[in-house]
């Protein structure tokens, strides 16, 4: 009862409108981000009552590479998964030569000399992210051939 009273009081302040929804885009290339087309601040306020889930609430550790083209060269599963889900941020960090996602990639690939490796990646950026439609497999294969 207490909960209901408290809830009703909060509800008194809400107004209605069509709910703008987040739509998630999955993929192995660039541009796979959650798009939140929130047209009004009130909608953002309403969203906070449930910590809106983007529908992808699973418990199983599904491989993030299930729909992706596999790398030509041998590459560990975890590295492929990481790159597939972090294509944009890795591109940004390789382009500037530093960053946490880049450090994570270094750790997954068991790179010995990170400084030299990251410098080599930046110098070869346009061979690694060779086009706008590059995919995870391409990026990792390119890294293997140019820097590893």
């Amino acid at each position: 009862m207490k909960r209901l009273l408290v809830s009703l009081a909060a509800v008194a302040a809400l107004s209605s409108a069509a709910f703008a929804t987040p739509n998630s885009q999955t993929g192995c290339g660039l541009g796979s981000v959650i798009i939140k087309d929130n047209s009004s601040a009130v909608m953002l306020a309403l969203q906070a009552t449930t910590n809106g889930t983007s529908g992808n609430q699973t418990f199983g550790i599904t491989s993030g590479t299930s729909g992706c083209k596999k790398t030509k060269l041998v590459m560990n599963e975890r590295a492929q998964e990481f790159v597939a889900s972090n294509m944009d941020i890795l591109a940004k960090e390789i382009a500037v030569g530093h960053g946490e996602s880049l450090d994570t990639l270094d750790e997954l690939l068991q790179v010995q000399d990170k400084v030299a490796f990251n410098a080599a990646l930046q110098a070869n950026y346009n061979k690694i992210y060779s086009s706008k439609s590059v995919k995870m497999a391409d990026v990792l294969d390119n890294i293997s051939t140019t820097a590893l």
């Binding site: 909960r3 209901l4 408290v6 809830s7 909060a10 509800v11 008194a12 302040a13 809400l14 209605s16 409108a17 069509a18 709910f19 929804t21 987040p22 660039l30 981000v33 959650i34 798009i35 939140k36 087309d37 929130n38 601040a41 953002l44 306020a45 309403l46 906070a48 009552t49 449930t50 910590n51 809106g52 889930t53 529908g55 992808n56 609430q57 699973t58 418990f59 199983g60 550790i61 990481f82 889900s85 944009d88 591109a91 940004k92 382009a95 500037v96 030569g97 530093h98 946490e100 450090d103 994570t104 750790e107 997954l108 410098a119 930046q122 110098a123 950026y125 346009n126 992210y129 706008k132």
Partner: protein, 611 residues
């Protein structure tokens, strides 16, 4: 052959009998040891007094398991011994925490076993070593997000925290299928099931830091590896269970506390909360328990862009936006000899951040995004390696004032001495010290203030709910500001408090010294009749120095009766400590008494105490 057959049946029956004897022995032993009354068993069942908070029959083996821990324990033992399957679908694999604990408490050596391939696979993947409590802070233009959110990160052997897994509790709601109002109401009254999820930390960062523009605060906990593993076993048990999600009480943060208590049963965190569980308050409680070892800050994309605004040269600062709008090309920046290399880097870097920001809001189409992203990053890659952006860590939300406020004050109103007494369960307003809070945001719930003087004792304010979001416009951010309020206040023309509702919108600009704003608020009051009006407000707030807080606001209103009204509010706050503040206030209100215009002026000093 027949002998063999009879022999096999004999062995089978005996094993069954032995099994049956064995489980009965354990059941008796459990009863004698009063195991079902033990605190840990109640934690595993999420017992709150006499009832479990888990609303899913699949979580219990006994029919009345949710209300009878003894029956549940007996039924659990039965289930372990009578499993027909010995794989991940067995009771043993589904309830590893209960299995582990019962085996230990009963000093059992002949418990049945099972092969839990799925569990083992995920256990190895998650690799639980220690835990961190994560708090995504407020999002500008969403004051309700000021309440924040918490989830746990299970740290692994990897150095990189990005590879850790986060365990999160949220309402299992498909926003696309629901109307906005229904969605909000259901979240408040338990209309949705809450579910636990386990996903890579980098996915949570993409959601909160990048897409939602929220700064992230991490609090490392001193849980041992054994405790973290125990917590993981219990998280596995919660996989797929349904419990009703209640925004105010059994919400995301509250359920994280269960996990921490299961990890270390001596912790008493949940009992600190009675009628509301505010996420940041759970972080305070965890800190008070003394289990936080370190604090870390991750700036949001918005914070990074605001930093670039201070680094970009004034003459060049429109270039990142022009890049994103396609008005100039990245190669033009790269080849322009007139631009300093440092500036070129800032232009391209902030351009990419701004591009991602616009794309995540749906302002840029994917094809355009890919084109521009590729061009800008390629150009930047030719400009060498730099040091990371230095972003100063802002005040930690955990050092901000607590949620519940009381205030005591004294003042003079039109020559009379007045005493004040106030209480507010949640949460923060523009006159409270901003330390640890997001600038320009306010969210109040049941703000009550009463005054007493020789003449009368009256209610000054009884706000049911008020929300303010004053977001400063800047180079990259063109937010608008808004506010709303419903409840009784003394800002109407009459002497007595009147019930009213207002909603306003406008703009704000600021710098590191403070900010000012311009808002227009239609207002509707109701006493015996309805009275409509419109107000225009100009205000400013100086907040540069952490212990001082200055607010001034001028409002001019005109009502449907033709009456005009001026209101002035001014306050100067002094932060004495995390949870104590003194505020000097001046209020000017035009009132109408006996058909004549009369102004009411109040000077007061208030002591605010938070806990």
């Amino acid at each position: 052959m027949i002998k063999f057959f009879i022999f096999s049946v004999f062995i089978l029956l005996n094993t069954h009998l032995l099994w049956a004897q064995s489980v009965q022995n354990y059941k008796n032993q459990a009863q004698q040891l009063h195991l079902s009354q033990k605190h840990y068993w109640h934690l595993l069942l999420h017992m709150n007094g006499d009832v479990s908070e888990i609303d899913d029959p699949n979580f219990f083996f006994a029919k009345n398991g949710a209300t009878d821990p003894a029956a549940e324990l007996q039924a659990t033992l039965e289930a372990f011994f009578s499993d027909e399957v010995k794989d991940d679908n067995s009771s043993i694999c589904k309830f590893p925490a209960r299995y582990f604990w019962l085996k230990k408490e009963l000093h059992a050596t002949d418990f049945p076993t099972a092969t839990c391939k799925e569990y083992e696979k995920i256990f190895q993947r998650v690799d639980p070593k220690s835990a961190t409590l994560v708090f995504p802070a407020a999002h500008i233009n969403s004051p309700a997000s000021m309440f924040g959110h918490t989830f746990l990160r299970i740290n692994s052997s990897f150095n990189s925290k990005l590879l850790s897994y986060a365990v999160n509790y949220a309402a299992n709601a498909d926003a696309e299928k629901e109307n906005g109002i229904v969605f909000a109401i259901k979240g408040l009254v338990g209309g949705y099931y809450g579910r636990y999820s386990l996903l890579p930390y980098y996915e949570k960062l993409k959601e909160y830091r990048d897409s939602e523009q929220r700064d992230i605060w991490e609090y490392d906990l001193n849980l041992t590896q054994e405790e973290t593993v125990a917590m993981f076993r219990h998280i596995w048990e919660l996989n797929g269970t349904n419990s009703f999600y209640y925004f105010f009480t059994e919400n995301c943060s509250y359920n994280m506390l269960w996990l921490l208590e299961v990890a270390r049963p001596t912790l008493q965190l949940r009992n600190k909360f009675t009628y509301q569980v505010i996420p940041l308050e759970t972080v305070h409680v965890v800190k008070q328990a003394g289990i936080i070892t370190a604090e870390h800050y991750r700036p949001s994309k918005r914070t990074k862009l605001l930093k670039y605004e201070t680094l970009l040269d004034e003459k060049l600062n429109t270039l990142p936006i022009q890049l994103v709008e396609g008005k100039i090309k990245a190669s033009q920046i790269e080849n322009n000899r007139a631009i300093d290399i440092d500036q070129k880097r800032y232009i391209l870097e902030s351009g990419v951040e701004y591009l991602e920001y616009q794309y995540s809001r749906g302002k840029v189409k994917k094809e355009e995004y890919l084109e521009l992203f590729h061009a800008m990053t390629t150009a930047r890659a030719k400009l060498g390696i730099t040091k990371p952006l230095e972003i100063k860590t802002p005040p930690n939300p955990i050092d901000g004032h607590r949620a519940f406020r009381t205030q005591l004050g004294a003042g003079i109103k039109d020559g009379d001495f007045v005493g004040y007494l106030g209480v507010r369960p949640a949460y923060h307003d523009l006159e409270d010290s901003e330390y640890g809070f997001l600038r320009g945001t306010q969210i109040e719930f049941l703000n009550l203030l009463a005054s007493t003087s020789k003449k009368e004792t009256k209610i000054e304010e009884a706000t049911i709910i008020s929300i303010v979001s004053i977001a400063q416009r800047s180079l990259f951010f063109k937010n608008f500001s808004w506010r709303t309020k419903i409840g009784w206040d003394n800002d109407y023309l009459t002497q007595n408090p009147t019930f009213g509702f207002s909603v306003g919108a406008g703009f704000s600009w600021g710098n590191e010294l403070g900010f000012f704003y311009v808002l227009g608020d239609p207002v509707l009051y109701q006493n015996s009749k309805f009275h409509a009006g419109v107000g225009g407000s100009i205000g400013c707030n100086v907040d540069k120095y952490k212990d001082f807080n200055t607010n001034v606001e001028f409002t001019q209103r005109v009502y449907d009766s033709g009456e005009t009204q001026m209101l002035i509010k001014a306050s100067q706050g002094f932060r004495l400590s995390q949870n104590k503040q003194i505020v000097l206030k001046y209020d000017y209100k035009d009132k109408i008494a006996v058909e004549k215009k009369k102004d009411e002026q109040t000077f007061r000093i208030m002591l605010k105490y938070y806990f």
